[in-house]
């Protein structure tokens, strides 16, 4: 399955990888957010941050919102930059847990390393996406002459009215249109 947006549609193969990365980061955000909301106590204990459960759950909500933004928006770029900002906030918060005599400093270090790794990916992804043109490109090929009708659309319209719809494919009488005025000569808006 491909993650595709209006503005990224036409980028070549390498760029499909960036789309996949963005999508992956979106899913990661949601998963992390769910963990933060579901188990703030366990996380706080592991990081020696007792009393900060509310903050952790709040960060979880932020992660989920960002994740949904990345996956659902037409253009994920601002949302990925949002992740970068979120990473900075996470790092700053974790850094406070390094102060004093926190017995879980080692865990905090591991968590910071993990966040730094994610930050690197986020920055890379956001920069690659930002480099792209914000304008949709014109069609790659011109197919405006490919009607498929050797005698043209006008002639083709209704050319198969000799076709008898088989009885098992017919609309029940009661659902048919009440009146059947003359058909126009070729497809056109009814307004």
């Amino acid at each position: 399955m491909r993650y595709e947006t209006e503005r990224t549609r036409r980028r070549g193969q390498a760029d499909t990888a960036t789309d996949t990365l963005a999508r992956g980061l979106g899913l990661f955000s949601i998963a992390l957010g769910i963990a933060e909301i579901a188990a703030p106590r366990a996380l706080a204990r592991a990081l020696g941050m007792k009393g900060q459960e509310g903050l952790i759950a709040g960060y979880g909500v932020r992660e989920i919102a960002t994740g949904i933004g990345i996956l659902a928006s037409k253009d994920p770029t601002p949302w990925i930059w949002g992740r970068v900002a979120g990473d900075a906030l996470d790092l700053a918060t974790l850094a406070t847990a390094l102060e004093g005599n926190n017995p879980k400093k080692e865990n905090v270090g591991i968590a910071m390393a993990a966040v730094l790794g994610a930050t690197a990916l986020d920055v890379y992804c956001a920069q690659t996406l930002s480099r792209e043109s914000p304008h949709p490109l014109p069609p790659l090929q011109d197919y405006s002459d490919r009607s498929g009708f050797p005698r043209g659309v006008e002639q083709a319209h209704g050319a198969a009215s000799d076709f008898a719809v088989p009885s098992d494919f017919r609309t029940p009488e009661a659902l048919r249109p009440y009146t059947q005025p003359e058909a126009p000569r070729h497809p056109q808006p009814s307004m």
Partner: protein, 390 residues
């Protein structure tokens, strides 16, 4: 011989495999002169459809020349005959075949018991399309074994190029049946979601059958341009609200006939329901993405018809059945009963009413096949339909 072989998700290779042989008296072997990649193959490539095994040969849109005929097929076929092979394998004798419901032939699916477990009943055997439908090797290869060949073929005359005839195997009759299922009246607006190869054929069929107005919906500019060339009014889902535009074009009443030529891999749009599908699919709680179906049920005019040639494989969530029931909509769907329509369609090609080759954008060798799967899926290079010449 060489063939395109499925090895896993997005892993299709051009391999050397043993030549097919006559296994049953009703078999025939054809030398493939042209075959094509279909949107249905993408569901296998992306591995949305379950039931593929590593080593399966892909392909169900095939034509060629008969090179060997089993004893019991001899009355109907001879060496040298030029044939298009329908993607549905048919016996021609069972109750369903006799009614013309070929895609639910009761006899040709050799894994009918597995299909019955999944769907309640067996459906026809299909070429190159999962073990749920018989696991028959497909036609993206140099040679193809055609089971039940005395019934499973469309004889075509010499003197017309392959390109005009090949799509009798699937997408032309599929687009045709999608339109016929709508029993189009001269007063009807027909809205068609998806301007891939199937959507393009559906547009042409709806025009030929005399719809008042044909509206085509997609997001790929080249595909929309091709739809317009065929006589459709277009809606780009990235630029417009589909529901609003459809209502505008029908004086607020909605289209009488809605056709889903997209299927289970509908693109996410920026709507809540698309988001919901992605999350549910990622967590394996839903198999298909029915965004288009929801939109159709909502916008379709009361007492109208939903025609669904797009392929679905399993369970769909949040289908607004209340709208379908209360508006009294008719739903018609199914794999195409190819041979039911092909005599008539061949005549229309011969008479010059339509030339289905308009949809071909790329012609390649078997060796280039695996790369073309990706190009077709990602709609790169203006790709709409790929023909392979083995």
């Amino acid at each position: 011989m060489k063939a395109l072989v499925w090895h896993g998700t997005t892993d299709i290779r051009c391999d050397s495999v043993p030549d097919p042989e006559i296994e049953q008296p009703r078999d025939a072997i054809i030398k493939v002169t042209s075959c094509a990649i279909c949107g249905s193959d993408l569901h296998l490539y992306n591995h949305f459809m379950p039931g593929m095994k590593s080593g399966d040969i892909m392909g169900h849109e095939t034509m060629g020349e008969v090179v060997e005929v089993g004893a019991e097929a001899k009355g109907k076929l001879k060496v040298g005959d030029r044939v298009v092979i329908p993607f549905t394998i048919i016996c021609g004798e069972c109750e369903q075949c006799k009614r013309g419901n070929f895609s639910v032939c009761e006899r040709t699916n050799r894994n009918g018991n597995i299909a019955a477990k999944a769907f309640g009943h067996t459906t026809a055997g299909l070429f190159g399309y999962t073990h749920l439908t018989g696991g028959y090797p497909g036609g993206q290869a140099e040679y193809l074994r055609v089971p039940f060949a005395d019934a499973t073929h469309i004889k075509v005359p010499n003197g017309i190029p392959d390109e005009k005839l090949l799509f009798l195997s699937d997408i032309f009759p599929t687009g045709w049946q999608a339109a016929v299922q709508c029993d189009i009246q001269p007063t009807d607006t027909v809205a068609i979601w998806g301007c891939g190869p199937v959507g393009q054929m559906t547009i042409r069929s709806a025009v030929l059958l005399g719809a008042k107005q044909v509206i085509a919906i997609d997001r790929i500019p080249e595909r929309l341009a091709m739809a317009e060339a065929g006589g459709a009014i277009t809606i780009n889902i990235d630029e417009d609200s589909v529901i609003e535009r459809l209502n505008e074009l029908t004086n607020g009443k909605g289209p009488e006939k809605c056709i889903d030529a997209v299927g289970m891999e509908a693109h996410a749009t920026a709507t809540i329901d698309s988001m919901y599908d992605r999350v549910k699919q990622a967590t394996m709680m839903e198999t298909d993405r029915p965004h288009v179906l929801r939109e159709m049920a909502y916008v379709c005019r009361p007492a109208g018809t939903l025609s669904i040639p797009g392929v679905y494989g399993g369970l769909l969530d949040k289908i607004p059945f209340g709208a379908i029931m209360n508006k009294g909509l008719t739903i018609r769907t199914g794999q195409t009963h190819v041979n039911r329509w092909t005599d008539d369609l061949l005549r229309r090609i011969e008479e010059g009413q339509i030339d289905p080759s308009f949809v071909i954008t790329h012609t390649v060798s078997l060796e280039e096949g695996p790369d073309m799967y990706k190009v077709f899926r990602d709609k790169q290079d203006g790709c709409i339909k790929v023909v392979i010449k083995p």
